[in-house]
């Protein structure tokens, strides 16, 4: 009968590789817990609300509606995108909302679990995983709506639409990686989450979410270098059936994200005890 042995001491005598294995192992073992936490939060969110699930996509829908109106009424003149504008805008805001949600997810999930973090020992990766489950739930609702839009505006079905979930997963990967790095500091200082919320609003304007990349000028440079650009563009191109032009950049971003994700997981794992003692709960 072998018993699991745990050693707690101040020096981190474990190497990165062991930590990473432990982190991924814990994430795998905590699938049930993560699902429970996600189910619990989703149910609690929608149980007391009449409109319920609609709130999941109200923001991207509203932003899209505003821009469609601005464009069709001639208040703002935008370059031709090759696709019916409502589909263009809505697919953009949808992917953008998924990216923003996945950046905020690690920090929000950890913040919400303050109560149990300070009292019970459980694999913390379950919090991250439950955040991802919630993201997937919300995103699947949004995809249904997007597909509706696609058919409503006559873009029609393209085989590449089936690859769209991959782009979405890429978006989630990117957002989660970023989110993991800001979580430790973000839990200590509230400024960080405010800066992120603030910053993301600006960032939306240097990403081809509601308008296309201009042919020349400083915006072209900014938007071309922006790592979020290929994610948004690839996703949209897959939906409407164009060949994704930024595919190379997209693959580069994804390839860079994976080791960074692992690093983020290790940092998260190391920093949780340090943060738990400073948290007030």
């Amino acid at each position: 009968m072998s018993l699991e042995t745990r050693v707690y001491q101040k020096e981190r005598t474990i190497k990165f590789a062991t930590l990473l294995k432990a982190s991924l192992g814990d994430m795998y073992h905590s699938r049930f817990l993560a699902r429970q936490l996600a189910e619990r939060d989703i149910k609690a969110q929608y149980r007391q609300s009449y409109l319920g699930v609609i709130w999941a996509f109200v923001t991207p829908l509203a932003t899209a509606a505003v821009w469609i109106f601005l464009s069709s009424s001639g208040t703002v003149s935008l370059s031709d995108t090759g696709v019916p504008y409502p589909v263009y805008v809505f697919s953009g805001t949808l992917i953008w909302s998924i990216i923003v949600a996945s950046i905020n997810s690690p920090m929000q999930s950890t913040q919400a679990a303050k109560g149990i973090l300070t009292k019970i020992n459980f694999p913390k990766e379950a919090l991250l995983l439950s955040g991802i489950y919630k993201l997937l739930f919300d995103s699947s609702i949004k995809i249904v709506l997007l597909v509706l839009f696609v058919f409503m505006y006559g873009v029609g079905f393209h085989w590449s639409l089936l690859l769209f979930p991959i782009a979405m997963l890429g978006a989630i990967l990117f957002g989660t990686t970023l989110g993991l790095f800001i979580t430790p500091m973000g839990l200590l200082y509230k400024d960080i989450s405010k800066i992120i919320a603030f910053g993301m609003q600006f960032l939306m304007y240097v990403t081809p979410v509601v308008y296309a990349i201009p042919k020349t000028g400083i915006m072209k440079t900014l938007m071309s270098w922006n790592p979020i650009t290929p994610i948004v563009l690839t996703a949209r191109d897959l939906v409407v059936g164009f060949t994704p032009e930024y595919l190379n950049y997209f693959c580069v971003v994804m390839a860079v994200c994976i080791p960074l994700l692992f690093l983020g997981l290790i940092i998260y794992r190391i920093s949780i005890p340090i943060i738990v003692e400073r948290l007030s709960a």
Binding site: L3, E4, T5, R6, V7, Y8, Q9, K10, E11, R12, F32, L33, Q36, L37, R40, K43, A44, R47, Q48, G115, I116, L117, T118, K119, I120, N121, F122, P184, M185, L188, Y189, I267, I270, S271, P273, I274, I275, V276, E277, R278
Partner: protein, 410 residues
């Protein structure tokens, strides 16, 4: 015929703590800044000795102990002594600043019973949640679901949202889930203070059942409980170990001593008498150095009053004994006309004796009431004139431990 061999299987050490220390910061903003610095050094991995930075203090310093399966360690101390911090480190929630903790086996903690309960969901859904947090899989919980509901006695309300549960119901549900866990190491933090008598009895029964297979660490302020369950004890004082060993009784005595103080209060004073001296005496009628005595020793007090105003008749003295929880437990017989009291023009002196006092272990205080006249109207009332402590091995809830003799009827 083989003789009875003693059980020589060496019980393994499940919890080993060596030189454990932890510091905290007093000020919030500084604490957050130190948090940032700790994050950086945590990621980089430094192995320097940690000293106290400004505004920090040692919450626990240099704690050492070992715990085997079947042993129960009691952790007692004043509020703020560091007990909960020690438990959090044992539970893996925070990192130590020095020293090492080695724990084998599954750890169960009853630190807060409602942890993880979401008020909007029903009791049944929360059982699955709580069980998942404690490390059970869905299959495990399915198998134990009925036992948990039966233990908590919540069959009727299990599908009602938890926000409508009374606090007793919540506590029963939380304990039911944790109790089914069958851990190797169980950590209990003052959770038994909440809950009605039925719940407390159930907890005791559960702890008794699992004790042979578990190492238990028990934190409480309830000394009779500690005395009953624990076979090892650590008394903490401001983060350090004040007493450690197997003599649970002695540690509890030390704990009580810390809280005794010598303030008295005047409730009523006619100005007729002044209490000048009161002492507790030993068997040679000399003043005791420490106001302590053993169970079944003679309890003797010396009183001396100064007379301010002459009294027409001798007053009656009523001496009442209160225990540490301010319950009156005994009163001395009052004096009569034939009692031996020395009256002079300016003073009253006497020694009052009770043979072989059988008060249980604890700290007691004396209230004094002096009355006079045909209807015994009070002329002097003082509370807390002296405190004394009775020593005995066992801490018992009742105020008296009566010596008893057993004999067989003819």
């Amino acid at each position: 015929m083989s003789e009875n061999k003693p059980n020589t299987i060496e019980k393994e050490v499940l919890v080993k703590v060596e030189g454990l220390s932890k510091k905290f910061c007093k000020d919030l903003k500084t604490s957050l800044w130190y948090g940032v610095k700790d994050l950086l050094s945590g990621v980089r991995g430094s192995s320097e000795e940690r000293e106290l930075r400004p505004k920090e203090f040692w919450a626990i310093k240099d704690i050492n102990f070992e715990l085997k399966r079947g042993e129960c360690l009691g952790l007692i101390g004043h509020n703020g002594a560091g007990k909960s911090t020690l438990l959090k480190i044992l539970n893996g929630l925070i990192n130590p600043d020095a020293g090492k903790v080695t724990i084998k086996g599954r750890v169960g903690a009853l630190i807060e019973l409602g942890a993880g309960f979401n008020p909007i969901l029903s009791g049944r859904e929360n059982i699955y949640n709580n069980g998942a947090i404690l490390g059970f899989s869905r299959k495990d919980i399915d198998a134990k679901l009925d036992k948990i509901i039966a233990f908590a006695e919540l069959e009727e309300f299990i599908d009602m949202p938890v926000q409508h549960y009374s606090s007793g119901m919540k506590v029963r549900l939380g304990f039911a889930v944790a109790a089914q866990m069958e851990p190797d190491v169980l950590i209990v933090d003052e959770v038994l203070a909440v809950g009605d008598l039925g719940f407390v009895l159930k907890c005791f029964k559960t702890i008794d059942t699992i004790l042979p297979n578990t190492a238990i660490i028990f934190v409480s302020h309830n000394m009779p409980m500690v005395s009953r369950i624990c076979n090892q004890i650590i008394l903490m004082e401001h983060g350090c170990t004040q007493f450690q060993g197997q003599d649970v009784g002695k540690a509890i005595d030390l704990y009580y001593t810390r809280f005794s103080n010598n303030e008295n209060s005047v409730v009523y004073d006619d100005g007729v008498l002044v209490l000048e001296e009161i002492n507790i005496l030993d068997s040679n009628l000399k003043k005791k150095k420490e106001p302590t005595l053993k169970w079944k020793e003679d309890l003797q007090f010396y009183f001396r009053f100064k007379i301010i105003e002459k009294l027409k008749q001798p007053p009656t003295f009523k001496i009442i004994i209160f225990d540490i929880e301010q319950r009156p437990v005994a009163v001395f017989e009052e004096n009569t006309e034939t009692s031996n009291i020395l009256y002079t023009d300016s003073s009253i002196e006497f020694i009052i004796t009770h043979r072989q006092v059988q008060l249980t272990k604890g700290i007691y205080s004396i209230n004094l009431l002096v009355a006079n006249g045909p209807i015994a109207s009070p002329i002097l009332r003082l509370n807390d004139v002296i405190k004394f402590q009775v020593f005995h091995e066992k801490d018992i809830w009742s105020p008296f431990l009566l010596s008893s003799e057993f004999s067989i009827p003819k």
